[in-house]
Symmetry: C2
């Protein structure tokens, strides 16, 4: 980029002007002087693509910007340098991002679903064109996790990632932990306070965390992990009693997105997980996000911040935009290869972990023996156990040493076959200790 170009304002075309778009406009306006000092040039929103110009917005349209109803007019405007995609959804966003890259525009997006499910060809196109496809805002809002993996930890071989990647789920689990509320009540509270949407499916079923995990895997290992193959379990069936029993064992239950490299194969998924309560991850409260990354040089790094909201997410969108304004290198996937290979995936049933179990056992002779036999028959070794005295049905909780998901499944089938359970057994993974 020539010096003369650098002194012109960088011109943006925004697609969408909801929460994040408004936050971005506010940041570019209020922090104009800081931005100018840091980049040596201004950043201006020239055009905004909105479906409904009359809709009430949280922040006025920025001064000097004009509305536009046609995506092709937006991407073909020769004065616009960067298309900022904040529409959400997959199909229309994909079309817009592709059009923008083909028209030679840099793209900045907060759209994790798009990049997790349809990202590979878009990253390839951006690489071929030498354009930025910035997505800092798409993983954990204001936390600079994308850049940390692209650059800060670039000299590391990454061994694992563990993250609290969804603020809504963390808010609900934290409320359940703090006050013993059942899931449905905590969800309703979260909705009333604006921490969960009217349709919370994407958040509480783990899909949002899984989208982010897919992007983190691409950054950490330079591979394409097909989103459809990622094991995902949300928090809708986490019971208040399991949270309490986990605490008795010294753990907090968190919705964890987790990936680790084991002998060249990736073991990954999103699950409610018991996190030892002396870990920083266990102390992440409210709607905060946090990620722990282990690398073979850096050891363990932990980043914590707000994963959503107009200004935190706007801060990350703006960070990508300012890098473009400075003329920074496009380093989208963090790899010098246009086609990333497919991930070598460890079959989920082979994955080893230690587990928490809660079995509701009928109070009759031999019941405990049957449970113990089923575990022993499948080489599952029990580390600690609690049995609570109750009438008729005895809750039996135990933590195991490392075992495979296959053995867990088989042992549970065997226990169920004995007819001693009064309810579906509950089991959760325990967060593994740091890599050696």
């Amino acid at each position: 980029m020539a010096i003369s170009e650098k002194n012109h304002p960088l011109m943006l075309g925004l697609a969408g002007f909801g929460t994040v778009g408004s936050g971005l406009a506010k940041i570019l306006d209020e922090n104009q002087a800081d931005i100018m000092r840091r980049c040596g040039r201004n950043v201006r929103i020239k055009s905004i693509l909105v479906r409904d110009p009359a809709k009430k917005r949280p922040y006025p349209f920025p001064q000097g910007s004009r509305l536009c109803a046609d995506a092709s007019a937006l991407v073909s405007d020769p004065e616009i340098d960067v298309i900022v995609e904040l529409m959400g959804g997959i199909e229309a966003a994909e079309k817009l991002v592709r059009m923008a890259l083909e028209a030679g525009k840099h793209v900045v997006t907060a759209n994790k679903a798009l990049l997790a499910e349809k990202g590979a060809p878009l990253f390839k196109l951006a690489a071929e064109k030498g354009l930025h496809l910035g997505y800092e805002a798409s993983v954990c809002g204001g936390i600079p996790i994308v850049q940390t993996l692209q650059e800060g930890l670039a000299a590391n071989s990454i061994t694992s990632i563990s993250g609290i990647l969804n603020g809504t789920s963390n808010y609900i689990l934290s409320a359940m932990t703090g006050s013993g509320l059942p899931f449905e009540v905590a969800l309703k509270q979260a909705q009333e306070l604006g921490f969960a949407e009217a349709d919370p499916t994407l958040d509480i079923e783990g899909f949002d965390a899984a989208h982010k995990l897919t992007l983190l895997i691409r950054l950490a290992w330079g591979v394409d992990y097909p989103f459809t193959q990622l094991p995902i379990t949300g928090i809708t069936r986490v019971a208040a009693e399991d949270i309490q029993f986990a605490r008795e064992f010294g753990y907090n239950i968190k919705l964890l997105g987790q990936a680790r490299m084991e002998d060249g194969r990736l073991e990954a998924g999103v699950f409610p997980t018991l996190v030892p309560n002396n870990y920083l991850l266990a102390k992440v409260g409210h709607s905060y996000n946090a990620v722990r990354i282990e690398g073979n040089a850096v050891g363990s790094i932990f980043l914590h911040g707000l994963g959503a909201g107009d200004l935190p997410t706007g801060s990350a969108v703006a960070a990508d935009i300012l890098n473009i304004a400075r003329g920074a290198l496009a380093n989208n996937t963090g790899y010098a290869i246009a086609n990333l290979p497919k991930a070598q995936i460890m079959p989920p049933r082979e994955a080893k972990a230690s587990y928490y179990f809660r079995l509701m056992v009928l109070d009759r002779p031999g019941a405990l023996r049957d449970v113990a036999a089923a575990m022993a028959d499948h080489n599952i070794s029990i580390a600690q156990a609690i049995q609570k005295g109750q009438e008729n049905v005895v809750p039996l909780m135990f933590m195991t040493h490392d075992t495979t998901a296959r053995d867990v499944e088989a042992a549970l089938q065997q226990v169920k076959g004995t007819g001693i359970l009064s309810a579906e057994p509950v089991h959760y993974r325990v967060m593994p200790p740091p890599a050696k």
Copy 2:
């Protein structure tokens, strides 16, 4: 940088081959395949400047490298792209970095003392020459805090920084907190275990943390804060009993580097500080480092990791080197101005904070009245107090609401004047709550 150049290996000249140099060599060797995938080119150590070639090293000199005893030969080698300064100390390092920049070489350094005390003209020279002066490793080792301030939070107006910036001090304070050890014993243990040097002055007197804070201030606010004007108090006089009393009030004592912008003036310093024990900063144990940054868009961001050691620090040195290998933009201070202005500094005596006091009061009539009067006379309002019954001398601990350092000093003079104290009064700042 042309494509052909990009495919050549990036050639390094190392100055120094101690802990960090060895760690860097190990990382470049073991993670060669990852580095190649990420950068599209190799990185090689061509020459190493050492004072004593015969000295025993923790890691062998890298294959294909040659030793060199003359700094001017190192910087004038036309095959070398980057000089990596890992000698430590100020004078010789300054001379080498200046020579390297003048010879048109990029520089990467882990030398916080050099950049804090003599950085301004070096950054200016690098900017004039369009060269990288990379220093990710100089603040908190493996934590990517420099880049976070240069880029990730670039769209923010930063309101405050609070950091545990020295691992040795944190190790000692954590040991004192965990086991009630007195300072001298904890220091000796730290030395035996390799967490403190034989001469620990730079660490325990707060100078190392102050060097890092000076660099963080430059990054956060784009100003030059003269190192000699920074208030610095180390941990050598922190008493085990104050750690225990602080815990009774709900706080941990940490050595905090802290800076905040108040009405356009910077209030900054390094002090033992009471941190509320529900803050993540209070939970930073062992020799870990952590930084909390508040920005007007991002809210609060917290980063945690290893601040020292061959591999964590080597990881950060390598991150800077890989950015150069990729042809990234030089963004050294994070500002588009070659001459950063001097900081507008709030006189330390005007700084407002709440305080913890411990007064050893002679057990005689009117003593408590005299203390309370001195505080009231200087508008110091007491938030909570503990008095411990002991013979002859009564320890009186209290926490105040916000007050200025000037009023604290005056109140203490007045108390001392009454003759009721049996020992020098102790007072520590309390970490302020997040900015509104």
